[in-house]
């Protein structure tokens, strides 16, 4: 028995999901299917969900589409193959901060560069959750992890800036607290023909919050509420106010550029194989 129309996008027999109590991944997974529901070009038969390895990447197993749970870091290459082999398919990638920016970092920037028509949603929990709380390239400075017991000294990536610099044509950030904003952000990403990148901040109470004394899941979400600043307001904020934990959310970048499948179709035209 489903209560809401978006639930038809879940494999009901696979629920409840395996994520810890209070994990933000479930919120983002719901936001994705709600965004898909709003886009009539995306059906369960013509949409493929591709994920890597890690907590967030388990989402593909719960979603009732053709789903591809790949190897660690490799979701974007697999997704690129799916899209180019059959450009009629819509391809959504679910990845995590370790999956996307550490082991999959090279694939990430090259996916952006080629402007492959993918919507990549990075669930950023600032930690390797599945393996028990090791530091990722998006663990903030000073935060503790099992592999950074005295606080991380590795300078973190800003994945949105990275995506923009590498050539993505839609770059935005939201959080598990700002649910309606998150849905709209993903919806706009799905609508962009090209490489769309959405960073969704999620709370990991088990492997990150607890070790860093951030309180229960709700407190971690309240932290998102209190520190996220909409891009328009952020831009007006003087530098001395952009302090502490404050961070911007919203649409950072959008551009028109030919997606890779369209660009390659010109190659096929020149070579004489377009009709086949």
């Amino acid at each position: 028995m489903i209560e809401r129309s978006y639930e038809k996008y879940f494999r009901q027999n696979r629920l409840p999901h395996l994520w810890c109590p209070g994990c933000g991944n479930g919120i983002v997974m719901k936001a994705i299917v709600q965004a898909i529901e709003k886009n009539h070009a995306f059906t369960q038969d013509n949409t493929v969900i591709v994920s890597g390895i890690g907590c967030s990447s388990r989402a593909s197993g719960y979603m009732d589409f053709d789903t591809l749970h790949t190897a660690h870091g490799r979701a974007i290459p697999f997704a690129t193959g799916v899209k180019l082999a059959n450009p009629a398919l819509n391809v959504v990638v679910i990845t995590g901060d370790g999956d996307c920016t550490a082991i999959g970092g090279n694939h990430f920037i090259h996916g952006c560069r080629r402007n492959v028509d993918l919507t990549v949603i990075l669930f950023n929990n600032n930690i390797y959750g599945m393996t028990g709380g090791q530091a990722s390239p998006m663990t903030p400075l000073g935060k503790k992890a099992t592999t950074a017991p005295y606080g991380s000294v590795d300078r973190p990536f800003d994945a949105c800036k990275l995506a923009e610099a590498a050539g993505a044509t839609y770059v935005a950030r939201s959080t598990a607290f700002h649910v309606q904003h998150l849905v709209k952000t993903i919806e706009d990403g799905l609508n962009n023909r090209g490489f769309s990148f959405i960073e969704a901040l999620v709370q990991c109470p088990t492997a990150y919050g607890r070790r860093n004394k951030m309180g229960d899941p709700a407190k971690m979400m309240a932290w998102m509420r209190d520190n996220a600043v909409m891009k328009t307001a952020w831009d007006k904020l003087p530098d001395d106010k952009k302090t502490g934990d404050k961070f911007p959310i919203g649409l950072f970048y959008q551009a028109q550029a030919e997606p890779y499948d369209a660009a390659y179709s010109h190659v096929q035209e020149i070579a004489g194989g377009a009709a086949q």
Partner: protein, 69 residues
């Protein structure tokens, strides 16, 4: 009552997100750590609970005025 709740307790992991973000303290966790509706009369049908439930365990429907009588 302004609202009607559907709880799927087999999905509830007792994280407390709905309890905390409810502006009217309508919800609470029972001794087994599952959500229950403690003060239904206070509910203003804002839907914050359902919005952020990571486990799709709580659904809130607004009750239309006539039907609520």
């Amino acid at each position: 009552m302004k609202s009607e709740f559907t709880l799927k307790l087999e999905r509830c992991k007792g994280c407390g997100i709905c309890v905390t973000f409810c502006p009217k303290q309508v919800l609470a966790l029972d001794t087994l750590g599952k959500v229950y509706v403690a003060n239904h009369e206070n509910c203003i049908a804002c839907g914050q609970c359902e919005l952020r439930c990571p486990d799709y365990a709580i659904f809130m429907d607004k009750v239309k005025k006539e039907a609520a009588k």
